[in-house]
Structures are given as C-alpha cells and as structure tokens.
Symmetry: C2
Subunit: 208 residues, 2 copies
Amino acid sequence: MSPRVSKEHLKQRRADIMKAATQVFIEQGYEHTTMKHVMEAANVSRGGLYQYFSNKEDLFEAILEEGLSEEAEDTGFSLEEAASPQWTLLMKLMFGEDGRPDTNMDPLAPSKLEFFITGRHDERRRTYGEKRYEMGVNIYDEVIKAGQETGEFSDRYDSGLLARSIITFVDGLALDHAIQPEEKVRLKEQSELFVEYLKMALDVSSSS
Amino acid sequence: MSPRVSKEHLKQRRADIMKAATQVFIEQGYEHTTMKHVMEAANVSRGGLYQYFSNKEDLFEAILEEGLSEEAEDTGFSLEEAASPQWTLLMKLMFGEDGRPDTNMDPLAPSKLEFFITGRHDERRRTYGEKRYEMGVNIYDEVIKAGQETGEFSDRYDSGLLARSIITFVDGLALDHAIQPEEKVRLKEQSELFVEYLKMALDVSSSS
DNA sequence: CCCTAAAAAGACACCAGTGTCGTTTTGGTA
DNA sequence: TACCAAAACGACACTGGTGTCTTTTTAGGG
C-alpha cells in the first residue's frame, strides 16, 4: 500500500531518461534510434526503460509534449508584455527571446520532422501533427490579428494566411538545415529577407 | 556469349519495376516500404528484383535520377524560349508548364523528404542531398541573375539568396502538405502570396 | 530441336529490434 | 530487523525484413 520510492524519485528518473533520450534522438534521428540506444544512454535496463515508456513513439511524444509546455511558458511570458508592439512579439515568437534572426535552430527539429513525415500514414500521428500545426498557426494568427486590430499592421492580407506562411518558412528552413550545412542554407540571411517580406506584407516601417 | 534476352527487354523490365516501385513509395512512404512490397507490386520474385536493384536505397535513387533527367528535359525546353521574360520562366520553374500556382504537388515529394531527412547522417546520402540542393539553387539562381542583368529584375537582393528562399519555400510547402490536408495548408493562396513577395524583391510590377 | 547462358524464382539463414515475463534488488515501513 | 511491494533487471521468444544461394525456367543461336 505504501510506495517503495518517493513520487519525486520516479519523476526524476523519468526526467533523466527523457533527457538522455533527447540527446540520442538529436544525434541519431528518430527512425534510427532504438530503445537499446536509449537504454545505454540513460543507464537503464530494458525492463527499467519499459516501465516508464511503452515504446519509442510514446517516449518521443513525451519529449514533444515537454517541449511544448516549456514553449508555452515562454510564450505566456512574452504575451504578458502587452505594452510592447505586436511586431516585437512576432519577432520573439519567430526567433526567440532576442527577437532577431540568428543561426540557432532547435536541435531536435530534424527528428520532429522525421517523426511526423514518416508517420503521416498513421492515424494517431497524423491527427497529432495536425493539432500541433493548428496550434502553431493560431499563435501567429492571434498576434497578427491583434496587430491588425490596433492598426499597427495593415490588414491587406489575411492573418491566417500570413501565419501559415510563417510556419511554411520556418519548416522549410528547418528542413533544409537538417540536410544541408549551415553555410549553404544561409539561415540568417534568409531569415532577414523573410522579415523584410513580413514588413512589407504588414506595412511595418519599423526601425532596426 | 549471346544474351538470352534482348537489351530492350531488360530495359523494359527495369522500367516496369521502377514504375511499380514508385507507386509503392508514393503510397507507403520511403521508410515503410519494403522490398517485399515492391516484389508484389511489380509481380517479380525476390531473386528477380535483386537482379536489378541491390537494395531499397539503390532502387529509390534510380527513381530519383529518372525524375531528375525528366525534369531536366522539361527545363531545357523552357530555357530555350529565350524570348520570353525571365519572370515567366521563373514562374514555370516553380509551378510547372502553366506557370501559375495550383494545388498539385509531386506525389513522390514526401518520400523524397523522408529519404533525405532520415539519411542525413549517412555520408553518401548527405552528399547526394547537397548535390541536389545545389542543382536546385543553381537553376533558380541563373534565371534570376539573367533577369537582373537585363534589368528586368532589381538587383537589390543577391540572386543566390533569393534562389535559396524559393527552395526553402517550396520545401516548406512540400513538408507541410505531406503532413497536413490541403485545405489546412492553403497551398495555392500561400503560393500566390509568395509570388507577391518575389515581385517585391525583384521589383516586378507585372500583370499576371 | 536441342543446348546453354542468363533471368527468374523462392527457400534459407541471418540479424536487429521489440516487448514480455520471471527473477532479483531495493528502500520505506512497521 | 524483517518484511514486502514496487522498481529494476536481463534472458527470452518472436517478428519482420534482408540479401544470398541453389534450383528451375526460358528464349535465342546453332
């Protein structure tokens, strides 16, 4: 009736496994990592690992969810700065806290792409992917819509369409960067150009 | 010393297998198709199949190469119409013969993405992917450069960077479309918007 | 019409990865 | 200190896919 170890300990172990697994996924990609790889990286036995995650998909989804909630925290934080212009918010959403293009990309991004592309024929995975896509669109959509309502942005273009364009661009960049070395893709320059584009589409004259 | 069947027959058989395989790859994706699937679709035995292709990777690359040379033919054809403005050429390159956005995508595109993403840690595959990326960049680069030289396009932006942006956009669209249903991605509208973007970047006032 | 070399067939051995299950260890509790 | 439920372990059986190898078939040349 009494648990043999504390809830804390379980949480911790689970977190440790996920951390180790994340590293493996980053290094090997989703398809090529095996539970054995994870076992070794996390210093846990087969049985031990399966106690926490029933398979690779389950494990990866846990990592995805974790990333999502972390992101949500950051975003929530950003959104509270209602004082700042929507443009600043938009830039922070796209490029992180410093709000301008750089060459950093989510190291797990390639594996995420793998996960959703190779799983596109699986009902569960597909639905999940669509849900995430929609969430992404919504976040950008809301910021753009807000800007358009205050008159900070032009409403010449549909906010949903612009939101989708941002996602497309980000996905395309992640994809190319997953395969090509950075200097061939020119991440930063491309991002800057895309920002130019957004400025045009939203009629933002903006400084810097 | 004399071959048992004609060269033609061999070519034909090989072509048949590739055609059947293409269909399987479209339906199942790269990672999930097995040689067995192909055997069944092509009505050929295990031994027979391996006579023509030494493994799945070999088979898929053959299909890729074939697609590339077909494309090259089309492109070559387009480029000969030197009379037409570079803008028209650019649109044809992006959207095919009719030169304007539609909802058609290469049905093999998702498998191609899979192939290169999951193979990104394999030396051979990576190199091959880079080569193809470069070819893609070059095609667009040349058209844009030509247009800039004749003064048809503004040379405000680097042609290589614009070429890369086009690839990024196309890749992003292919990726999203591989995972999302068409109506969520809004392929056509996004493409039209992107064309606006290009017009801005190249200073093309153009009719349509 | 037979002969033969190449093409097609499919049985086979092998491997890598999976998830389960019986056993052992562990640490809080009484 | 002894107990015991849960946690951790790792051997195991199973599966699905691969590439090879031997055998059978086939079609063109003599």
